[in-house]
Symmetry: D2
Subunit: 412 residues, 4 copies
């Protein structure tokens, strides 16, 4: 996968920073928390704690503010956002006060949710499906006169597809997509393709195939679409990529890194399926193995329904020190998963809008900070990623300001 | 405290890199482990795991190799190094195999240990004491034809002295030192002053006053002595300065960071004294409070004799995330403390030799990586410290090479 | 302290089981949770999870049902129960739904709360104070035609009083109580004396002096008052008395048992005072030391306000096994303290009512199950206590039924 | 499975208490630790810490002393006991000092080890194999003039056999055993059958099929063989059966009990095989589910070779308390597994010798204390088991004394 390159900014940009956030899986737990949170931030009911882009001195002018963001999306679920929010509040996952205060915004957002693509009921060619999904995105952009729409996939984790030649070859892929009797792409990749067709910057917050197929990634780059992924790095994996490089800087040798995750909720139920979980377990271990050089990293995800959306993760790290001595580190992490993910989803919306405003296309490796399996880079070290991200925000901010200025328009 | 400045390298340097390591507290647990470890490394019986300077690509030519290092020191204890090593092996703290293999080296080193300064039996002025201690160091340097001697304080933690005007004013200090009826400096500071008198680079691995008194620090700088401190950052505190900045990079807010340490051994016994422990507790909390901005950081050190030199540390971190949500992180760290400290003592020997070879004088802030309470800098973030250290090693290596070349000599 | 003896049941009993629960500290966190919980149970809004007396097959007929219990009490706080419940709900400590459902009951109970004894503002003799407090209890009993009133102390932990001869000698005590210029008893003991005067069974859920003074205990026995204490065994201490006897049964030797408690809330604030905390630390360690035979049991209670009423307790147990081997057990316990305490307060109400109905007087050692520092017994082993309790319930139930039958009255 | 019944003590007993311990898997980690430990105890080099039968006041006269026990056994491994002990000492699992002190005893024991039954190389009928194994046991008994030999299976865990009619029907079983073309019993059950043929009391310390097949159990009873099993309850499972009943006594409701085990060593390698591990996972969960009533008990055993024979087990218990509140308990247990198992193997030797001396035959449910999956009883509660065991020791001790006295012989 090649790194982001600068897209030709041929078309003039409008003066507004109004930005769409189109959520694939718009009625899920992460999505509901993001939409409610956005409304709470815009309404001044909450602080942007947990939002990386809200750290002081880090919001360059061309990046949209939280109140500039309008939400829509696709889902298969019929449970409207306000109802999902209430259910999450009853389970102790969302503050009841905020559910009340944001009910209107949740209803407004829910009105922008369109039926997603259900592979079990799909009809017609993949091309037709993707065009239908893209049309939903374009209509949303036009309806709200948005400068751009960022598509973020927060739908249920899918099993990975069998490898196929179409995944590597654009021509083969387009041919297969046109054939109503074939289904060369899993749903997540059809959504990614729809984002390409709609010219929308895209992020994969899940470990599903999505834009990770080379043929799709090339198409995105050619269509001037910046994209980032994959699989949000929010809890245990994040902590591992914090601690493992620090052990390496001490020249301490990791012998084994064993872990267990306990999780209920929708994501837990999905991951109880051994097919779905395999993509997740892979993306959780790759970074750790890259940093530590050990492959003794047993890892489990257990579905424990009574925990709801609380994720409890235990790690046991066995380390060799000086003169063959042994040390152990254990960590227990307990958090409401969607509360970690939602602010990062908002960050990605702002940052991909910035990338797009700066004319970038293709994978944006500097957004690797946000992902377990970062595209376009081998850097997993969280501190190194944070530094790269901050530098990138500053540079891209300048470039986007310059390009905005060059085309003679200003923001506000 | 001002940052390291370049010392005038007036005197020509000899061609050898033979370097002395003079340990204050030379028969303690950390010292014994360091001396045994050095012998094991030099003899090819062990890998330099845990030595920061042994990471690939990080040993510039003017830095001494492990086999270039000769050991001596001061202590009050009469228990010889081989016997202390055996006791540590019996307690499961050192590998019996290595004690056997390094017995000769331990005996050789022990023969270089001189009686230290015992405040309970001291006679004569502070100046006289310091001169006696300095003479031991100089004699050691000459006896072994060493290029330079690095003094490292690994003696028992002392209570902090009452503040006094002599600590800030050089003239007052020198006058008080000359007076046999006054004792303006605690032992650790007398050792630091002796290092200055001997022209020896110096590191404080303890939280004792040592070189932290402004008048002494100024004297060191004036005498061309580079120095670094203070209080080795080896375990729980190190982990805290790894994790806390990472939480900040996520814009997550630490509400409280509570901790407990359990420790037996000599250091544990010393720290069971509430006077001695206060300097330690202070240096353990300062960095954390600087990074997180919270002062809700209750911390205990308990003396648990049956644990021996194993330190067990538990931390409970309470964090506010998005929309007022709460997350917790617990860590349990269990390690043989001296096995963490000893390789860093060897690193400091090599790095202060390098600083001296490059003509640096005064505090070396880039060595802050090694310390809980870094002198000359406010940076506590372990990842940032690692970067600063690596840059410094490269730069100082070049400078020392250049200065060696300029005076027409080469290393091997 | 002698064991419970059978009181002469001279006076005839009314046929009703209507029982009063008089809470000292009636507006505190434990009390509020108990009152709300009682209303929720009586109203069928909750299950009696956590109530020991609600286990199947364990409620003998003469024991009052939850709906038979009427609440009143003393407190210094002016914050009414419904408001305190709301505050606890806002802090995530009580389910908002139940606060709404029980508002009427909370208001009713709050109307029965009388101003307590504030030592800072006290006037008159101790005798006069106790009589005033006893009169409140008697009036409550008569107002509601209650069979009996059980007094339970759940007020803030007090510092322990200095030892004094009055504490051991009834005559001296009564004389001192009569003297308006002396204050021989701390508040908790005045409340205990008031219970005696009112003929009310009594339990000390706190580690305060209360009925632990021999002269008072004797008076209680003479007045036919059964009583139990002291200091509710709800969390970490309970767990210790579960695990420690099990290690002993395996003939494993505890070397050290180190612990830390983190706690916010009202109790946390009180215990941040070193005077108040000492009684607590004592009662937490005594049982453990008795069972394990080690006195290496360092223990801390830290006030961590951001935790609210959640108590987090970490224990590190270092154990010697076969052939000098070592094993470690760590436990982390995290719970809302008052949710553990409240059901036990309801249990004690039912069980002391039963004791009284059966004509018992003096300390009831079989209620030691509920307490860190059990009166009238040296048994700390939780499993042994559970067995003793269950046997006692059955026996006392039979005795109370028989005595009820003997006096010609039946319950319903 | 029926409970132990009294065997007809027709034959006269010799006056000696000399007792054989025949270990199936005699050169494994548990066995080596048990043999070394026995020698250390007999030689006065160690205390019987971890031996349940060494608690004060619990060793009735007819129970053999440690020094009365002589060791032999079967194994497939050719690595002699002294060498295995050295390897364990090098890995830090056994004290080097004790290996030196017991070398002679280890050699003596190793000389009594006979080749075991290797199913991969077996020839002839099952009956012939069992007779060959039984002959080894009988020869050992006669060679050393032993009163009796206790057989204990501490061999590698086997996969469970497919259910078959022979397992339930004695006649079918004996017929199949006689047929050289059939293999109705897995190795562990052939060893159990050999014990029956040799008239030797038997214990299954593994979860393998062994005596758990009804037809075999009946044969044992008929042949006057007392037996106990199965699968030693030494660490995590033991802790669970300590804590779970205590939660039940508080009427707290376990929602889920999740666990992970990390283990290297020989047992870890065996359990890395999914077939072998299934019998273990089953026996670890059954007791917990019986006590708590929940089946939400995800459990893993991970093979982590760098941990050696240290077992690290983490448990996360999610509990519902009063009014729907939640509490969590986490435990981390870290121990050298064989050091927990070995003293219990010695206990079982003494106790089964006692059972045999008292004339018992069939399963001994009161030895359920020692097992994850206790035969002949549904009691899993560790405290209840301890009580039953202690009562049984006293009663059986009296009975054995009486029966010894009745036949006119005395012990020493
Ligand atoms: N910390 C985190 O929460 C975190 C971190 C990394 C990745 N993720 C990933 O984020 C995703 C969402 O997690 P969640 O907890 O919100 O899960 P969830 O089950 O609550 O929500 C998933 C949503 O996707 C919808 N969906 C399923 N298939 C769809 C399709 N074909 N088209 C459109 N919508 C579809 C579902 O109806 C549901 O509303 C998961 O894939 C998870 O692995 C979450
Ligand atoms: N991870 C670590 O081990 C670590 C980390 C940071 C700091 N430290 C510090 O390192 C120091 C040494 O720790 P240790 O475990 O080796 O302790 P120790 O008690 O084993 O050794 C201290 C030695 O200092 C000697 N000593 C005491 N007073 C002296 C004096 N006036 N002059 C000369 N020698 C004197 C003692 O005799 C003893 O041999 C302590 O101050 C400790 O706080 C250790
Ligand atoms: N698990 C548990 O919660 C637990 C376990 C054991 C013991 N306890 C003990 O229970 C007691 C109550 O705990 P809490 O969390 O409810 O504390 P809290 O601070 O919330 O409540 C204490 C109440 O006592 C009242 N009070 C103080 N002095 C008084 C006086 N002289 N007369 C009458 N009322 C007075 C206060 O006004 C307050 O309302 C404490 O002593 C605590 O140590 C609690
Ligand atoms: N705490 C504990 O250690 C513990 C607890 C419960 C159960 N167990 C069980 O005890 C057993 C032994 O554990 P270990 O750690 O000693 O394992 P190990 O692998 O060190 O030893 C097993 C021994 O059995 C021998 N063996 C294998 N197959 C055999 C056969 N057919 N006949 C005779 N010998 C055979 C092997 O050669 C080896 O010497 C395992 O089944 C384990 O599950 C151990
Ligand atoms: Na999730
Ligand atoms: Na084992």
């Amino acid at each position: 996968m090649t790194h982001a390159r600068t897209r030709e900014t041929t078309s003039a940009r409008t003066s507004s920073r109004a930005t769409g956030l189109w959520l694939v899986g718009a009625r899920g737990s992460v999505a509901t928390t993001a939409v409610l949170g956005l409304a709470a931030l815009a309404g001044g009911h909450a602080e942007p704690t947990g939002c990386v882009t809200a750290r002081p001195g880090l919001a360059p002018d061309p990046m949209p503010d939280f109140e500039d963001i309008v939400v829509g999306g696709h889902d298969l679920s019929a449970c409207p956002l306000p109802k999902r929010a209430e259910a999450l509040a009853d389970a102790g996952m969302l503050p009841p006060r905020l559910v009340t205060l944001t009910r209107d915004a949740l209803e407004t957002a829910d009105a922008q949710v369109r039926p997603g693509h259900d592979p079990a009921r799909a009809e017609g060619s993949g091309q037709a499906t993707a065009e239908r999904l893209a049309a939903d995105i374009v209509a949303f952009r036009e309806r709200h006169s948005l400068e751009r729409v960022v598509v973020i996939d927060v739908a249920s984790t899918e099993p990975l597809p069998e490898p196929a030649p179409e995944h590597d070859d654009d021509a083969l892929l387009l041919a297969a997509l046109a054939d109503p009797d074939r289904a060369p792409l899993p749903p997540s990749s059809l959504y990614a393709y729809a984002a390409i067709l709609a010219g929308a910057p895209y992020a994969a917050f899940t470990p599903s195939a999505s834009m990770a197929l080379p043929a799709l990634a090339r198409l995105a780059t050619e269509h001037g679409v910046p994209f980032a992924g994959q699989d949000g790095k929010t809890g245990q994996t994040w902590l591992r990529t914090v601690v493992a490089p620090a052990l390496a800087a001490r020249h301490l040798r990791v012998l084994s890194w064993s872990g267990t995750n306990l999780l209920g909720g929708g994501d837990g139920a999905t991951l109880a399926d051994p097919n779905a979980v395999s993509s997740k377990l892979g993306s959780k271990s790759r970074g750790l193995q890259a940093i530590t050089g050990t492959d003794s990293t047993p890892l489990h995800i257990d579905y424990v329904p009574d925990l709801g959306d609380v994720k409890v993760a235990w790690d046991h790290v066995h380390v060799e020190g000086f003169l063959g001595s042994r040390l152990t580190l254990q960590t227990t992490w307990s958090a409401y998963d969607s509360m970690l993910a939602a602010p990062l989803v908002l960050d990605l919306t702002r940052l991909l809008a910035l990338a797009h405003a700066a004319g970038l296309a293709g994978p944006v490796p500097e957004l690797g900070f946000f992902f377990k399996d970062p595209w376009g880079t081998g850097v997993h070290d969280a501190a190194a990623q944070a530094r790269l991200l901050d530098d990138w925000i500053r540079e891209t901010g300048s470039r986007a300001s310059a390009s905005g200025a060059a085309t003679g328009r200003s923001h506000r």
